[in-house]
């Protein structure tokens, strides 16, 4: 997965969710014209994003997959209501998020828990882990299951509103406008949540990853000593 935030933001420009790519517009027209089998091709590029969106909220593989399937079925049924001034992917992910949130609310009601368990967005400051220096963890280290689990666990530990925004922006690489459109919040809210989510991730992971530089990931150190590469 390519990761160049600055370039991505610049190339995405200010398109609020952007207009639908020509490929999607053409496919949608044909599907609505009766070629319903083409819906498979329409959703295929986005099916991974749908799953990660539902999983970011439900935090359970089976529930996330069920919600992802329901999302795609709902999108098929309501495709005629899609408006091409937005991107199909943004529209689809907003359905996924609403579906997952509805399931989560239902589950909480069944468990007699508060429906509104997301933390309020307080105005308190979020501080990072203050470290003295940082030795980069290379991408090759992701071959180690331990590192992948640390990253997944850190994201899972974030409050829902921060997990959603981090998943869409930093994992699925939606731009700020698309993330805002999918979540139904303003771009300002996305930026505020993103700052906090990123600092929380740094605060959780930076001390863990640095403390393991001579142990867990020692494999990636050079013989000359010390380098991650």
């Amino acid at each position: 997965m390519k990761f160049d935030l600055t370039a991505q933001v610049q190339s995405a420009g200010s398109a609020a969710g952007g207009s639908a790519p020509a490929r999607d517009v053409a496919l949608i027209a044909r599907i609505l014209g009766g070629e319903r089998e083409l819906f498979h091709e329409l959703v295929r590029p986005y099916e991974k994003s749908v799953y990660f969106a539902t999983h970011s909220i439900l935090q359970n593989e089976q529930d996330a997959e069920d919600a992802a399937q329901e999302t795609v079925l709902k999108a098929l049924k309501s495709l005629s209501s899609f408006r091409a001034e937005s991107k199909f992917s943004t529209w689809l992910i907003s359905i996924a998020i609403n579906e997952a949130r509805a399931r989560l609310r239902h589950a909480r009601v069944l468990k007699f828990e508060s429906v509104d368990q997301s933390p309020e967005e307080d105005n308190g400051s979020f501080t990072p882990a203050v470290i003295t220096d940082w030795r980069e963890v290379p991408l090759q280290a992701l071959e180690r299951k331990e590192l992948r689990e640390q990253l997944q666990k850190a994201i899972a530990s974030l409050p829902e509103i921060y997990r959603e925004v981090l998943l869409l922006r930093d994992v699925e690489e939606f731009n700020i406008a698309e993330t805002a459109a999918a979540l139904g919040v303003s771009e300002g809210v996305v930026k505020t949540r993103l700052l906090r989510a990123r600092l929380m991730m740094q605060r959780i992971l930076a001390p863990q990853l640095q403390s393991k530089k001579s142990g867990l990931f020692g494999l990636f150190r050079s013989k000359a000593g010390g380098s991650w590469f």
């Binding site: 933001v9 319903r36 203050v130 990253l151 930093d170 930026k191 993103l194």
Partner: protein, 80 residues
């Protein structure tokens, strides 16, 4: 414009996005040049974001795509 560490932390996400005004960017970079703590916070945050964006970090359940399209096909076939 002189920034302290807390000012820099508050801007770090927008800075990573490339979404800060030129004057503010310059002030942040001047601070980073002299503050090893904030430089380490920036480097670690960027590094963590690169790691979580990698395809290897999050994997789909085995067979997810197949089950999704099978369910979709049922719907398409059933409604015809």
């Amino acid at each position: 414009m002189v920034l302290n560490c807390k000012h820099v932390w508050a801007q770090i996400s927008d800075y990573i996005e490339g979404d800060v005004a030129p004057e503010l960017r310059q002030a942040i970079e001047e601070h980073l040049a002299h503050c090893r703590h904030c430089a380490a916070v920036l480097d670690s945050t960027r590094n963590i974001l690169v790691l979580i964006a990698d395809d290897r970090t999050f994997e789909l359940p085995l067979g997810y795509g197949d089950r999704l399209h099978a369910r979709l096909q049922e719907e398409i076939t059933g409604s015809e």
